[in-house]
């Protein structure tokens, strides 16, 4: 054996806890990042989709002849051409790959075209002749729930009903407040519309490159509908332009593969922005009726709620969204008695499913509005009322589950309460006033308001689902230097999971050079980039795999070096012993025999909710945040400028503080959008504003500075103590802004997004 080449101990850079710059940041900023819409293959065709113009209709006939006769068209497919399972869905496979008997929402896919040119494909898609018997759409979820409503699916109209009966159902209170609230349909409004490229392998199999949140659940659904063994379907993650839940359900995946397998050529599909509004699910609109009972001193006695979520035409993830809405319906408060009924209902509206906050957003708007209403009824300061009822470690959820781990609700609230208030607006700079550059006020009619809200949510998948992630780590020597290769199927959707995998490998193995391979299905599942879970779960898997690699490395070192050094450990890239100091470098021990380990990480077991009482230890962990909104409102025009958002959030451990900050600011922007402007407007099942011309999302002049106070209290069950970060910023920012608007205007504002009419009082609402 050669003499050990001891490396000088260098400070480890780019490990856990550092604000490591993400590799895709600069390319995205410069417009050089390759998104899935930039994919290209030699000889490829373009796919296009024929969609139903009707929210509800029966298909009488489909005639593809004219479309097929269009020059450059290679194939036209209908439901008859789906070789395997004719429908798909993550939890309930109720959505047709291509509709055959009924269409249940405007924009439902009925036929597919592949052509040499995208324009020819679009034209031919318009020439598929579909004869419809148009039916009256069922668009009101309460009507769909009522006895005697026509069944939209064989299973009826209720996708799920969660019933929670906690504590004393007859409990009475000294003060009771009731309220009805509504949440509009929000879109995820990601940057990159649905797109991908399918390439047939010539042997009956297929390779798909696509933007998605969970490669393996796509794989399962693809294999079933294509009638192929899973080994014949390979999926690689292409450049993703944001997700926010909108990429959980399939979009182009099966369609693109069907066209490619039929034509034997690569096929690319890419939705435009308008088609994208019909090509993915949205946030569930909700109607919520609440009753809060409290003692005169402010202590909550009971909460009763009836929550109706409009699931639209197909189930998507409505079952899980409904469970979340119910479980988190009372907020992060000690609520001894609860009577909750949450329903997700089929209608002929656009399908709704996952979006950042996932059921916890809708209920947070309602329960926080109720807390303010209760504070007013009790004449108690709204912050004090929240503090009085705040959950802490050891508290019992309304599902009977004990809250383990840090639950610093009162502390978070105190921190946003104590944060200094921003200065008054500058009347000389209209950009700081409501209406902004539109020049609607020079200070006239402007009043300031301050509002608070708390929110919480589960991290990871719940209700007994065995959630796991898989990672493979390989330690080798390249050009004399140790290098780590990390491979997982975790989807980088912009949240930074690639960077986090690198950081963990550096910290665990002391190696500077880390390569994260493209995510694909040649390795086991990593689960979804959803539920604020990916850093915890895939981070955990990478950590496990690194630990296994390290153990083998030290074992090999012990074998090579004999027992004379005693116990060996890894210090940076050096192997050290207590007695002898550095005894070898990683490169010495690895040599040309790489060490590779594949490991899974499973979170601790969860359990189903009891169907009668909704009781059960259904969740892995909870994340909490507090928000304070300061707004300036033009009382005469109903226009708003959010002046500042202050937030405090326990993230357990900030693996990458810069990324945490990004999640907090981005999440607040999305919560602000829901509070003030973002709504897909629907009339009789039809979307009225499927474009960024009329679906407004906040601009830089709408988004205020964020004062973020990040706590790192450490969850004992999580790798490094981390908690998910992505969703809490969205959940309670919306109600905080609306509370601030109420503070300024004195109006009830029971619906989001709040419209100028509501603030001005044109819709019959009164203060």
């Amino acid at each position: 054996m050669r003499a050990p080449t001891i490396q000088k101990r260098t400070e480890q850079r780019g490990g856990v806890g550092e604000s490591v710059q993400r590799p895709d940041g600069v390319p995205k900023t410069k417009g050089e990042f390759a998104y899935s819409s930039d994919l290209w293959a030699e000889n490829m065709l373009w796919g296009a989709t024929t969609r139903s113009p009707h929210p509800r209709a029966r298909i009488v006939s489909i005639d593809t002849r004219e479309a097929l006769a269009t020059p450059r068209v290679r194939t036209v497919l209908t439901h008859e051409d789906v070789p395997g399972r004719k429908s798909y869905g993550m939890e309930v496979p109720d959505q047709p790959v291509l509709a055959w008997d009924d269409v249940r929402y405007q924009g439902e896919a009925v036929a597919l075209v592949a052509a040499d040119h995208p324009e020819a494909a679009r034209r031919a898609a318009g020439r598929v002749k579909i004869e419809y018997e148009v039916l009256e759409p069922l668009v009101d979820p309460e009507t769909a729930l009522a006895d005697g409503a026509p069944a939209l699916h064989p299973s009826g109209n209720v996708i799920r009903h969660i019933r929670i009966r906690h504590g004393d159902q007859e409990a009475s209170a000294e003060v009771v407040v009731k309220g009805d609230y509504q949440v509009g349909m929000q879109d995820q409004a990601f940057l990159g519309p649905e797109s991908g490229l399918a390439i047939p392998d010539g042997e009956g199999g297929i390779d798909l490159y696509v933007s998605t949140q969970w490669l393996h659940i796509d794989l399962d659904q693809l294999a079933a509908s294509l009638d192929l063994p899973p080994s014949k379907v390979r999926i690689t993650l292409a450049g993703v332009g944001g997700a926010f839940g909108a990429r959980e359900d399939l979009s182009i995946q099966i369609h693109c593969c069907l066209l490619a397998l039929e034509t034997g050529r690569p096929v690319k599909m890419m939705y435009g922005r308008e088609e994208s509004f019909f090509g993915h699910v949205h946030r569930h609109p909700a109607r919520l009726h609440y009753e809060h009972g409290a003692m005169r001193d402010g202590r909550l006695v009971y909460v009763k709620a009836r929550i109706v979520l409009d699931g639209g035409a197909y189930a998507s993830s409505s079952t899980a969204v409904c469970a979340n809405a119910a479980c988190f319906s009372c907020g992060p408060y000690n609520v001894p008695n609860a009577t909750i009924d949450a329903y997700a209902v089929y209608t002929d509206n656009p399908p709704c499913g996952a979006m950042r906050g996932f059921g916890a957003v809708q209920t947070c708007f309602a329960y926080e509005s109720q807390m303010d209403r209760l504070a007013k009824a009790l004449d108690i300061d709204p912050v004090e009322l929240r503090r009085l009822n705040a959950m802490d470690t050891g508290a019992t959820m309304i599902t009977g589950q004990e809250v383990e781990g840090p639950a610093p609700v009162a502390e978070l609230l105190k921190r946003v309460r104590n944060a200094p208030l921003p200065p008054d607006g500058d009347a000389m700079d209209i950009r700081t006033l409501p209406g902004g550059v539109s020049n609607t006020t020079h200070g006239e009619g402007v009043k300031r308001g301050v509002g608070y809200a708390l929110g919480f949510k589960n991290i990871g998948y719940s209700e007994g689902f065995d959630d796991f992630s898989t990672a493979r780590v390989r330690l080798s020597v390249v050009a004399g230097e140790p290098q780590v290769e990390v491979h997982s199927a975790a989807s980088e959707v912009g949240q930074g999971v690639v960077t986090v995998q690198m950081q963990i490998a550096r910290t665990e193995l002391g190696v500077q050079q880390v390569v994260v391979l493209p995510a694909d299905t040649s390795i086991g599942s990593s689960g979804s980039s959803s539920a604020s879970r990916q850093t915890w779960m895939t981070g955990g898997a990478v950590k496990n795999a690194c630990e296994a690699v390290r153990a083998r490395l030290l074992q090999r070192a012990a074998q090579r070096l004999g027992k004379r050094h005693g116990k060996l450990t890894l210090d940076g890239a050096n192997i050290v012993s207590a007695g002898s100091g550095s005894v070898a470098s990683i490169s010495d021990i690895v040599g040309d025999d790489p060490i590779e380990e594949t490991k899974e990480y499973h979170h601790r077991k969860t359990f189903p909710l009891d169907p009668r009482t909704g009781q059960g230890n259904a969740h892995v962990a909870f994340a909490f945040a507090a928000h304070r909104a300061v707004v300036d409102v033009d009382l005469d025009l109903g226009l708003v400028r959010v002046v500042e958002m202050a937030t405090a959030q326990d993230v357990g451990k900030a693996l990458n503080p810069q990324a945490v900050e990004g999640q907090i600011e981005g999440g607040i922007a999305q919560g602000l959008g829901l509070a003030l402007m973002e709504e897909i407007q629907i009339s009789q099942g039809r979307i009225l504003n499927p474009s960024f011309t009329d679906y407004l999302i906040p601009t830089i002049l709408d988004m205020p500075p964020v004062r973020a106070d990040v706590l790192e209290l450490g969850d004992p069950h999580a790798p490094y103590g981390l908690k998910g970060v992505g969703e809490p910023p969205t959940i309670s920012s919306t109600p905080a802004i609306v509370a601030a608007l109420r503070d300024a205007t004195g109006r009830p504002l029971t619906r989001v997004p709040v419209r100028p009419d509501d603030i001005v009082g044109l819709d019959g609402q009164s203060g």
Partner: protein, 308 residues
Amino acid sequence: MAGPANEVDGLGRCQGGKGLEFLQPTSLTEALELKAAHPGAVPLAGGTDLMVDLNFDRLRPEAMLDLTRIDELKQWWPHDDLIRLGAGVSYTRLVSEIGEYLPGLAIASRTIGSPQIRNRATVGGNLGTSSPAGDALPPLLAAGAEIEVASAGSSRRMPFRDFMIGPKKNALAPEELIVAVHIPKARGPQQFSKIGTRNAMVISVASFALAIDAGTRAISCAIGSAGPVILEAPEADEFIESSLEESGAWDARSRIDNSVLQRFGELVAQGARPITDVRGTKAYRQHALAVIAARTLTWAWDDYMASA
């Protein structure tokens, strides 16, 4: 069965057809000749409306006439008490170069889109689209602008109110192009305000422009996004002119009573003909117009009072 008769390429093109022609004249004369030869050609200036229509497949023109290489359209100059504004001057340039002469139009220009859009978009484009939501249009009407249009061999000028005749409809003949706008230099304070539900990059829900002519003691209003065309509000104009006359406020440079401001706002709101659509309700548009009419009058009058 086949597609449309004689289609050969799946792109809607027929035997011998050339598909979309992209015409790029470098002089106005050449542009007008091309427009005469291709009356269906859609003029392209900043493209901020046209390219969106193409992307959404709302428009499939046989030809596009790119006007961005014609220097004559990018010029402006003062003549007599007017500014002759070439149809191709961008909003960014309008604000920085001509703002002092055309303050109302400059304020409106600042509310348009984003910096990127203002770098490309032009008054000519706003006129060509003739949307009731065109932000540059109310200040043109309030200021009494005239539109110069030309065809090969002839040109004519018409007041704005004769130019815009309906939502996305104007008096332009198929062989004509918009060449310039002749706008009187401001003879007093001007204002513009626009309602949108976000604080930048927003299509107006309602807008209002006002121009004071301190010489003739006239006040002109124009209302955007609240009717099929940009609307005048003659009753509001007459009311405020006579109120100011009667109270002697022109000479005294004294404040306008709140009751007068309120009545002025009501008359503006009554002059509007709004509808309810995805961007706003009829009731809100009317309400908001009354508010911004009173506010813009106050701001403009403050400037008048402050002027020597």
